[in-house]
């Protein structure tokens, strides 16, 4: 059974023998960039598929992706890069750098690995450093930042501070949502006590409050029945609390 490296050796050979050798090699280099920093994202795959749609696939994209997923850094891949470098022209270099930038950014982030690969591909095409920065700005509207030094703890300190701040923001959003949900439930309850619809106007709410207050006011109850008096007092209190709750939201 062939191992992963055998599969990619076969892949480079298939790319060399392909009748669409240039187009397939370009697609393969873009897919290599997409796979390099982890599992292939569907958006990155889609971006590669959108390139060179007028050229048929000599080697299916799925085969190339599967081979790189098994071995992202095959030993004989420089053969492919050497061929690509031999095929470069000024126009194709710009087009290729645009493609690589689009593929790297398709999953919504440019990882440190992709930054290393982008400067490698830029040097492979013998492009000046300013070209990558210029095309990055043109394609994404962002400044290209060279790969960070992961041997410097300051990188991790900054990344951890960002992650912590993001987690704090997410927790605050969740707390806000829970608070809003509780407030909404309290408001529904208050409207139920006053016997009005959720979309009642402030005038209707105030009218309901006045009517129920008159109805359940202790002074308006028959004074002989202690149980009825207590029940009316409880209803009166509930009506006043509901009214106070709705006033907090400026509903009344």
């Amino acid at each position: 059974m062939p191992g992963p490296s055998d599969a990619t050796v076969g892949l480079v050979q298939r790319l060399q023998d392909s009748p669409q050798r240039v187009a397939d090699s370009i697609r393969a280099s873009a897919l290599w960039l997409a796979v390099l920093d982890g599992p292939l994202d569907a958006r990155e795959f889609h971006e590669v598929g959108l390139a060179l749609t007028h050229d048929p696939e000599g080697v299916p994209l799925h085969d190339i992706a599967a081979a790189f997923a098994a071995e992202p850094m095959p030993k004989d891949l420089p053969k492919l890069f050497r061929f690509l470098r031999g095929q470069r022209s000024a126009q194709r270099t710009v087009w290729l750098i645009d493609l690589y930038i689009r593929v790297a950014a398709a999953d919504g982030r440019i990882s440190q690995i992709e930054r290393h690969a982008l400067i490698f591909l830029s040097d492979l095409l013998a492009a000046p450093a300013s070209l990558l920065q210029e095309r990055f700005d043109a394609v994404l509207g962002l400044d290209f930042e060279p790969p960070a030094d992961l041997g410097d703890p300051a990188f991790f300190d900054a990344a951890e501070a960002v992650a912590k701040a993001r987690a704090a923001r997410a927790a605050a959003r969740e707390a806000d949502a829970a608070r809003a949900q509780a407030a909404s439930a309290e408001r529904r309850e208050a409207l139920l006590v006053l016997g009005v619809k959720p979309d009642a106007t402030p005038i209707a709410i105030k009218a309901a409050w006045r009517r129920l207050s008159r109805q359940w006011h202790p002074d308006r109850q028959p004074q002989g029945d202690a149980a009825a008096l207590a029940a009316a007092a409880a209803r009166f209190d509930a009506v006043q609390k509901a009214w106070a709750r709705l006033q907090e939201d400026d509903d009344a």
């Binding site: 290393h116 400067i119 830029s122 040097d123 450093a129 992961l150 410097d152 703890p153 991790f156």
Partner: protein, 111 residues
């Protein structure tokens, strides 16, 4: 990106005891500080190594494809993993690292 493993005289994937011994033995204080803060913390080391493996592979391909004089290789000449042909310079402590002394320590230092 500085090649901490090479600067410590170790290979990629060195075990933690070997790392500790190399850190204790290195005369470069800044290198020891960085290695302690990055390579001795498992999560940071995993993130570092994921990038290191690719950058190291690309560096070898740069040599194979005769790309040492590429534009980005010139721009990032202080990176061990882009310019393998240059001797690594010693790491230096960041400026202001010793500036957090209290006023009386500074006064004692002057005296």
């Amino acid at each position: 990106m500085r090649d901490l493993y090479a600067r410590l005289g170790l290979g990629y994937g060195a075990e933690e005891p070997a790392l500790r011994r190399a850190i204790a033995a290195t005369p470069d204080a800044e290198l020891a500080r960085r290695a302690k803060a990055v390579l001795l913390q498992p999560e940071r080391r995993a993130a570092h190594d994921a990038v290191y493996v690719v950058a190291r592979g690309l560096r070898d391909w740069r040599v194979e494809l005769l790309m040492e004089d590429g534009a980005w290789a010139q721009a990032l000449a202080d990176s061990d993993l882009v310019r393998p042909d240059l001797p690594p310079e010693p790491l230096v402590s960041p400026k202001g690292a010793g500036a957090r002394r209290s006023w009386w320590r500074r006064w004692l230092g002057r005296a």
